[in-house]
C-alpha cells in the first residue's frame, strides 16, 4: 500500500464515529485499501458502493448536472458517505451520532490527496 493511501485511510478511520473506511477502485468495484469495523465485508461494500456511485454519476450526468462529487445515505443505524471521481472513491461508514462535518472534511482531503 502506498504511503498516500495508508495515511489517507489512517486519518479517515480515526475520525470519531467512523466504523469503516475504504478506498475503492470504482471501475473494478474492488477495494484498494480498507479499515473495516467488526462484521463488515470490504469486498461487498466496495462492489456495491462502486456500483451505486457509477449509477448515480450516470444519473446526474443525464440530468445535465455535471459529474458526481459525493453522496450520503442515511440508514437506521448510521451513515454511508461516498466521495471521489469515477475511477477512485472513498467510502466511510459512520455511526448515527458521528461528526459528519469533520468526516466530510477528511473525505474531501482524501479525494484531493488521492488524485
Amino acid at each position: 500500500m502506498s504511503d498516500v493511501v495508508a495515511s489517507t485511510l489512517d486519518r479517515l478511520s480515526h475520525v470519531p464515529g467512523v466504523r469503516s473506511a475504504l478506498i475503492v477502485d470504482a471501475e473494478a468495484g474492488v477495494p484498494v485499501a480498507s479499515e473495516l469495523g467488526t462484521g463488515a465485508s470490504g469486498t461487498a461494500m466496495a462492489a456495491l458502493t462502486a456500483s451505486l456511485f457509477r449509477r448515480t454519476d450516470q444519473a446526474v450526468r443525464e440530468a445535465a448536472l455535471g459529474g458526481l462529487g459525493s453522496f450520503q445515505l442515511e440508514t437506521e443505524e448510521g451513515h454511508v458517505l461516498v466521495a471521489g471521481r469515477p475511477e477512485l472513491i472513498v467510502v466511510v461508514v459512520a455511526d448515527r451520532d458521528a461528526q459528519l462535518g469533520l468526516i466530510r472534511l477528511e473525505m474531501d482531503r482524501a479525494v484531493e490527496a488521492l488524485q
Partner: protein, 164 residues
Amino acid sequence: MRRADIARLSELLREPMRIFVREARARIALLVNASGQVLAQHGFAGRYHVMNVAALAAATNASAHALAEITGAGRWQYMHHAGRRWQLFLAPFVTPAETLILVTIFDEHSTLGLVELFFQKLAAQVRALPEFGEALPAVGAASFEHELEAGLDRVFAPDQQGGG
C-alpha cells in the same frame, strides 16, 4: 452427470442464475460442470457457442487447477480478463455433488467486484440446494459423449428459450 440428473438440476439452477444475471448485470452467463456439461445459460443465441465456451471453461478450470497444485498456490479462485468493452469472469465453486464453473461476460454496466460478489451468492445458493448436497453417480466413458450434449438439449429446449 447423467441426462436425467442434468434435466433435474438445470431446472433448479434457473432461478439462482436468473438472480445472478440480474444482480451482477451480466450480459452472458454459463454454468457448466468440470466435464463441460452445460447446466444453465443466459444470453447465448446458439448451441455451437455454448458448446465451445463450455469446453473451454472446463479446460481452463483443469489447467488452472493443475497450475495451482504444481506451484503450491492452493485452490484457484477466478480468472478475469478485461477487454476494451467486454470483460470475462470465469470461476469454479465446489459442491458436495461436483465442481461447477461459472463463465460470465459483462460490460461497463457492471464491475469485477459486483460480479464476484454475486458469484459468491450464487455459489452459496447452489450449495444450499439439497440436490447438490451429495455426490452424483458418475457417467461411464462409453456414454459420455451422449451425456455431454444432454445439458445443451436441455438449455435449448423450446420451453427454456429466452434466457434461462
